[in-house]
Symmetry: C2
Subunit: 192 residues, 2 copies
Amino acid sequence: MDSVNIRPPRTAHRHRPTVILGIDPGLRRTGYGVVRLSPGRFEPDLVEAGLIRLDAATGVEDRLLALFNDLEELVERIGPDHIAVEKLFAHYKHPRTAILMAHARGVILLAAKRKGIALTNLPSTEVKKSLTGNGHASKEQVQRAVAGQLHLPAPPEPSDVADALAIAMCCARRTALQAASHPAPDRDRNVS
Amino acid sequence: MDSVNIRPPRTAHRHRPTVILGIDPGLRRTGYGVVRLSPGRFEPDLVEAGLIRLDAATGVEDRLLALFNDLEELVERIGPDHIAVEKLFAHYKHPRTAILMAHARGVILLAAKRKGIALTNLPSTEVKKSLTGNGHASKEQVQRAVAGQLHLPAPPEPSDVADALAIAMCCARRTALQAASHPAPDRDRNVS
């Protein structure tokens, strides 16, 4: 696993935030982004983001095993309350790519389920709209929005990392909206 | 897991046969077929075949976990030398089905690799040709060929089971041909 070393400055931790891990699957590079949503807030904070690089010179099954092992390690370290991924039915123009991504996505869903972590599937248009206001925004627009909203000095690179952060941020906002519309008596409950 | 109870009559085991597990992936039903190839022979014998049924009322991630757990159990029980699957790039006409199958296929490849078992990817035309002489044979032709060549009283049902057996039989023949063209000094070696 190859962290690209995007971390926020240390701040005091709030009580019982919800930690969300967004994943952008791929069999060359799988991007991940982790955000934290504090109770009563709508905007998540960055925890970290990075890439799982897979060796394209090896077979698909070797890469799936490497991805699974790296993900298990990441999930153990981060302890997310949610894992968020994009729905995968928008890629019909490139069926070979979509089918390879689906192999990776299957392994990601399995890893999440084996750890008992709640999964959220987000349409890519919802992710883009949540970040930029436009459900058909370009990759560059999403990268800039992620950078601006997380107060990063530059857009995350490569775009797999920005996409994973965008997925996590969209999931955080959906979670915050659900919490606001169904407030619980216990202000510290974990939103699920 | 739901065995459809296709088993051959008990015969004396030959020394060190190669055991091949063929799998036909799906998120409703995954068929499996196990054959055994004895040293010096070209035609495999049936060991068993069956279905892993997945609950279509549950989420994709629940089904992937059930598939993974059932496969791990099957592999431990059977102890295959090879796992054979079809290549998945022939299904572009039904991209949604192909993408769901790819999720299941990813989990199958992962389960094989985690157990350190050799994987063989077979083009579906090679499987059909090996069984029927025609690379574009119908499902029914494949079912009849499987029944005839394994001396079964009737074609295996559903077709997922016949397909899994066809994949295992094709892999066994490929293995036998490779062994015949590269004979090893040790007649009992495991063909890989």
